[in-house]
Symmetry: C2
Subunit: 346 residues, 2 copies
DNA sequence: CTGAAAGCGCTTACAG
DNA sequence: CTGAAAGCGCTTACAG
């Protein structure tokens, strides 16, 4: 079986009728439709996507761009795989397929996206890992490709995004530690220009100042967002002249490396140093003492991203209310034991 | 800028010449080519993939099918992200793009693949998680879509595959444990029909028997290949009337759950029970005592998969020798301390 | 309700 | 070296 032509020939009707029958158009005799459907099923015929796309100007494919850097691999981040399920549950309603587009680490993300967009492989894009200045946002805006980002950026002031509540997490983490008597609280920040780092540290700073604690730049530890980065952070913490009594992590897997480095020096998390992590991750659950961190549903985030994206696509917007609001995605505190001690005055 | 027609118009030449210039055909005046290239760059023109695919009958896209089940998400497996880099390094040489096709957990993998193949979104496929009987292999063979699998299967006797050396791992693990005096060695096996489970257990059985140790079905513990599965395995081990002195795990993350369950009962891995894991994973490196396990390069595996696939594609086979040989991918032992004790007679 | 025909954006023999 | 034209597989006005 090749194409619609062969199928039509075998049924002795025109390709137009076959197409209409297959696409559920109302102006087809019911008996004809049944014959066509049966034959298509028998021959395993499915419309060639290229022909269809060329004619309709749409591909019915949505792309999710991810970065497959060595760092991402080492981190073994399940973030996007988790989000994927939620996205698909929304897209499936409209027979849209999701493909993940991995940008190789040796390719510039902007160039990669440009190529994907120009080739018109997808109708819309979801991008993530937004940088403070992110040219991809201009690119997509100018190309008029519907898109939504995971993460804010300064690059444009009006585009659809959903971002995790980094402010809220930093604020609540600081509050929690201050309530337990901590005044010297360190924080980790990513060494890259990813936007969330700025948001996170800024909220930390504001919350500290609200409590009359001066912001000390030496307590902002810039490391990679990885297990290794956590180890490095532990190392740097221990070297500080006046050691902090607490540390807030920006990335869940850092806790693993941090714990290890601390324990190597006989410093016990949850007893000698309070630790609060970011997102609850299955892999971090084994930590002893259990890590205090924040939890969210990746699936629900995927659903929200999918709906927001469709609300911005002409063909689907009727089904989704676009209130124009971007979303700060809330996270729920999971109290562990890594910060469960009251600091006694030294 | 829309299509080739507009670009040709702006240059006042025919679309045929533009196409030839852009595609590096030799029969184009060098000056003309330069003008075309400059204009294309300026307008950000890139050939529409649908038009191109339709005409050429190829998409220049390779698909990597992955399964985004809840289990896969929880496991946070970086396996495919790691392989991706290697694949891309090969594909980039031929301007082929890689897309990851996530099959939703509520869709039957065979149906999903059928749809992807029929729509002709990709020129070739890489599939994984091969089952003992896997209809996807017949599907791809019949559709004449070039493909390569990660994992063997009984479904066909001649198709290109690369599989991890499960035999070798099981064999060496058993040898190692026997050499340390163990006779009662348990093994975990996946509860699904995934082919590797059969290979793994069969090799374990053969090696035991070679050492005169009878195979005891009660020591084959069927659990999910996940952290939770490891916990469950630990639980079942402890319940066995005659407790084994060693256990071999089929999946790296199981070690995390296993350790936890054992420690809850005061059973210390590496002292009270020998443990050997499968693949070395960044996340498992924190385990105390360090896990004895096996190591491999995901990147190199990706390169090998990419090359094997291209050797089976008419358009690229000239560049790659296809010796028809499938590959059993070797893993290297990383000796930890989880099995570093000699069993003394009880 | 159905058929014949146009055309989506490309690439490539074929002429010249 | 270049242009004009055919045609890849579809969908969809347009006639009837």
């Amino acid at each position: 079986m090749k194409g619609i032509r062969q199928l039509a020939e075998s049924l002795d009707i025109s390709i137009g009728t076959v197409s209409r029958a297959l696409n559920g158009r109302p102006d087809v005799n019911e008996e004809t439709r049944l014959r066509v459907l049966a034959a298509a099923e028998e021959f395993g015929y499915v419309a060639n996507q290229s022909g269809r796309s060329l004619r309709k100007g749409e591909t019915k494919v949505i792309g999710l761009m991810i970065e497959s850097s060595a760092e991402a691999v080492d981190n073994a981040d399940n973030f996007f795989l988790g989000v994927t399920s939620g996205l698909q549950s929304v897209f499936a309603r409209h027979k849209l397929d999701l493909v993940m587009l991995p940008c190789a680490s040796d390719e510039e993300p902007h160039e990669y996206l440009k190529r994907m967009v120009a080739r018109r492989i997808v109708d819309a894009m979801i991008i993530s890992n937004t940088q403070r200045i992110d040219r991809r946002i201009d690119l997509l805006s100018r190309a008029k490709i519907p898109f939504v980002t995971v993460g804010r950026s300064l690059s444009a002031n009006n585009f659809p995004w959903i971002d995790l509540d980094f402010e809220g997490v930093a604020e609540r983490a600081v509050e929690r530690l201050v309530a337990r008597g901590h005044r010297r609280i360190a924080i980790t920040a990513p060494s890259s220009e990813v936007n969330l780092g700025y948001v996170f540290v800024e909220s930390y700073r504001r919350t500290l100042e609200r409590h009359g604690i001066a912001f000390d730049p030496s307590l902002v530890i810039r490391v990679k967002s990885s297990e290794q980065g956590g180890y490095q952070a532990g190392h740097e913490l221990l070297l500080l002249a006046q050691r902090p009594t607490a540390v807030i992590l920006i990335y869940e897997l850092m806790a693993i490396g941090l714990y290890r480095r601390l324990m190597e020096s006989g410093v016990m998390p949850g007893r000698d140093l309070a630790v609060i992590g970011f997102r609850d991750a299955p892999r971090a659950r084994f930590l002893q003492p259990p890590l205090s961190c924040f939890r969210m549903s990746l699936y629900d985030l995927g659903v929200a991203l999918g709906q927001m994206l469709l609300a911005h696509m002409p063909a689907y917007r009727e089904f989704y209310s676009n209130d124009g609001g971007n979303i700060i995605w809330p996270l729920e505190l999971v109290a562990g034991e890594s910060d469960a001690f009251q600091l006694t005055e030294v």
